[in-house]
Assembly symmetry: C2
Amino acid sequence: MDPLEAVAIVPAGGKGERLGLGAKAFLELGGRTLLEIVTQKLQPRVSRIVVGVPAEDVHRARGLLPASVEIISGGNTRQATVERLVQASKEALVLIHDVTRPFASGALIGRVLEAAAQHGAAVSMVHSQIPVGRTTQGCVAQSLDRNEVMLPQSPQAFQRAVLERAIQNGRRQGRERQTTWQLVEMNGERIAVVEGEETNIKITTAMDWDVARLVVWPRIMNGDRI
Amino acid sequence: MDPLEAVAIVPAGGKGERLGLGAKAFLELGGRTLLEIVTQKLQPRVSRIVVGVPAEDVHRARGLLPASVEIISGGNTRQATVERLVQASKEALVLIHDVTRPFASGALIGRVLEAAAQHGAAVSMVHSQIPVGRTTQGCVAQSLDRNEVMLPQSPQAFQRAVLERAIQNGRRQGRERQTTWQLVEMNGERIAVVEGEETNIKITTAMDWDVARLVVWPRIMNGDRI
């Protein structure tokens, strides 16, 4: 069987308000923006890449990325941006990767695509080192052992039919979720878990950015992984 | 009402096998071991400190800590070490803090003690930035929104009666849990959540140790917090 054709969509619409250094897509590591790092990492794994940035950043992004990477303006929320990116493509497999996770390896991206091709949906997750608490009204309602829970990363990938069903039903029922795999899970679909990477951190806070610059980036450069 | 007398117990029996640099209690930051940093931080907040280390490390720990800090040899598991430390003390409030979390602030330790005095049990937790997945057999079984879950840190603190009940019932029912608040939660007790600190990281892996040395320690030194 030929591998399914895959598009990588990159929602990069965040303003980086918690970090306070401007839109995170344009933060730089080793002279390249996160947007360049992420799209260059995706390039060999998929046949098409579509990026969604705020309307005012389309020109700036265009100046950084090769012509083969498509750029559209995103929506008001991450979910709205993902919907536009899905509509702007037709490939049978859709990989979603966040510009705020620049350290995902090419191998991980490949494994997530393969798992989605096989199972319909897949997301990269890491094991929790500690039990997690379900909380309500300032108290612990339930402890979940560390082997019961996993902490999701991106990339995540879906067969197009699975993803479009989840988006349509989500819209019909007014669901707005932080990440796309939640919409798919709430639609009753099976999602395979792909073992993620400790270095695949998400850059949200100023401390995350220090960890990215001072710890993960040097580690990955030493290992020649980016 | 007089404040309840409090003991701080510090289980420090781990061999640091995942990190591979020897027992984590003796790792150094700025010329002090984690054991010294943690006990010095606890000192002004409690009337007594008891540390549990492996039998072969008692002498080494004794050489580092002031005579006011009691040192006993721990058990084979964290839970067994905690049980010995609880038995070795009599104070009405018991604060448990891990030597692998050297960056908890004195203010956080104080807030956890106050909450335990008031509610019976309290644990420091931080909000999850992302939804968490309940997983089973390699698939996502349920997504938990980030406002439903929190990620526990230490310190945790308990009124002695609450803690001893949980330990006794846990022993009777053969429960072995990774952290003490889980035993208390499984015993049906109410546990108050105290908002934790982003810098209060747990040192488990080599990457955690880099984050501790290169990111958190300099941040805290700049803020004069340790």
